[in-house]
Subunit: 330 residues, 2 copies
DNA sequence: CAGCCGTCAGGGAGCGCTCCCTCACCCTTT
DNA sequence: AAAGGGTGAGGGAGCGCTCCCTGACGGCTG
């Protein structure tokens, strides 16, 4: 299965390697008749340029690494975020003719591998999805001098990122619940080593504080299970709770389940609002009110940011707006 | 940010390029003292071999393409399958030191690109996830002479694949419902251009036929919406239906929602069994009984198959067993 | 002690491509 | 008509690496 080379194509077309190269790369300074004869030869031989040889000299790969840094049972790995982000990113990069090298960095060992890989010149840039604040990878990659864009805010302040207006979203949710006449509004938080989780909690707290109400907080970790557990605890701590703002939809779904089991009606007894507006939110019973953050838009924005960086654009963060999608649960 | 080359390392270590190459590639025919001095130089300079140059001469890339072929709103793109497969595959390949190039082939145009890409020698093999029977990609890739393994059975009979025992799984589900004393057992099918869907339907039919019962069939397409719709139709066609076997969990979830809205109790009035045992199955109300097919295991098996093919192994299919996970819905 | 063989370091060709440079040719301009 | 300029093709170096081949050296054998 020997593939033809530039040289073979050149010989067949009766022109020089240079000319074939020019045609293949779409340069305009080629006479039409040469173009045609080369194109014919290319087609006849089924010529496809060798990627390695090309990379070697041009120093660009047209590939981008998408690094998802997360422990095996972590937050990112959960379906909605992972697949939405990966799919959106892939689509977006495909559209500009770039390839996606997907790397799941689940251990320190694989994180080290990522660094080696990136250093090996396999990719033109890195898109990072590393939600944990303590993750050392963002800083490490930033040091390598290759363009890096993060899907979210990280501890490495020199890595350009895209971020949601988390506090704003939480405020949206809480104000909505207040307007619905709720008095005892609780929250189930995400893991507090994540900016997202902290900011959402802060938005919740600030909004309640502004209206002279007190916070009722249960700690979760963005998983369904922790949402169910958090709700159980809230009901125990404060049986009169009449609304819950869950810091993500997965936890809201867990909370719905607990409420159902506890015999509380939603939204009559307890209103529930989630965050993220994942697809499943529309299919719960009752359908879930949620802060729409559009991870897809955020992912798209991150890709655009990365592409801009690769082209030498400015290293500045992007903040995404969000809105409330009101459904049956509130 | 100029990275050091072999030559620089050699100069620093005071040895030849060949020796450095030998050390870097872990060959054993190197004197320990040379090994040490080279290693030191490598470390001091932060040397990482240039991938392109290496590929160019060795003709291997240590990368594998994972091609997910599916229309934008298709079945595969749905969360559970997509993320489970992608994540499992990535983990498995990472473990053997290979990279994943993820390609979503959502249009004919991008399918053509996949072929060019693969022909360009970017990867050592291709793992294919192309559920649609009519998909031309499997056959096209098979023709290229590169190792290809498919996550599922395809129309291209010369592509080695991994498959579930779909008919067996359906039989498991139906027999379970019969044992529970159900008399009018309906099914909601997947899109019938998929082997999976056809085989599950056939298993359902055969089992009912064997026990002298008749089939009650609604057509679905593996989406939640179609499950809800299919259930609606079944209730209309045959109000006495007392059990439903949905050909996947997503549709079962849709069916649960319809049943809830129609005021039927699950499982008292209507028992529901799904297929796939996705994570969400445990979180529905009531929790869903499902045929556990372990997409993760199937994905792992496919990777193993592909790796074996790359090493020159035999091109034969692998069939996975499955089991029934009984929960509250039946 | 001479000759042989095995071991291991170094030299260098060449993988397929791009891109700089040279040069041929033709069209203008004076 | 000669010189100048512009256009576009061809030649060839070199990207960083691997791997074949050569040759030096030391240890054996006869």
């Amino acid at each position: 299965m020997k593939r033809p080379t530039l040289e073979v194509v050149a010989a067949r077309a009766g022109v020089s390697k240079s000319s074939v190269s020019r045609v293949v790369n779409g340069e305009t300074t080629v006479a039409p008749e040469i173009r045609d004869v080369v194109m014919r030869a290319v087609r006849e031989l089924g010529y496809v340029p060798n990627a390695a040889a090309r990379n070697l000299v041009t120093r660009r790969t047209d590939a981008v690494a998408v690094v998802v840094s997360d422990p095996p049972k972590g937050v990112v790995s959960d379906d909605p975020l992972f697949s939405t982000v990966v799919r959106t990113v892939s689509r977006e990069l495909e559209a500009v003719g770039r390839r996606v090298v997907l790397i799941l960095a689940e251990s320190d060992e694989s994180r080290a591998r990522v660094e080696r890989y990136v250093a090996g010149g396999h990719v033109d840039g890195v898109m990072l999805v590393a939600l944990h604040g303590a993750d050392p990878l963002p800083a490490a990659l930033a040091r390598m001098g290759l363009p890096v864009a993060s899907f979210n805010r990280t501890a490495a302040t020199d890595v350009p990122y895209v971020a949601l207006d988390n506090a704003g979203g939480a405020e949206l949710a809480v104000r909505h619940l207040l307007e619905r006449g709720r008095r005892r509004i609780a929250t189930i938080t995400g893991p507090l080593d994540l900016y997202e989780a902290r900011e959402r909690l802060e938005g919740y707290r600030a909004t309640l504080r502004d209206t002279g109400r007190r916070s009722i907080v249960a700690l979760g970790d963005f998983t369904r299970v922790s949402g169910a557990e958090g709700m159980r605890q809230l009901l125990e701590d404060d049986p009169d709770v009449d609304a819950v703002f869950a810091a993500n939809d997965l936890m809201a779904i867990g909370a719905l389940r607990t409420l159902h089991q506890a015999g509380r009606r939603v939204p009559e007894d307890v209103a529930v609002v989630g965050f993220d507006d994942i697809e499943a939110a529309a299919y719960t019973t009752p359908a879930l009110t949620s802060v729409r953050s559009s991870m897809a838009d955020q992912a798209t924005a991150t890709v655009r940011l990365l592409l801009a960086l690769i082209e030498g654009g400015p290293r500045k963060p992007v903040i995404m707006p969000n809105e409330l999608v009101v459904r049956e649960s509130s």
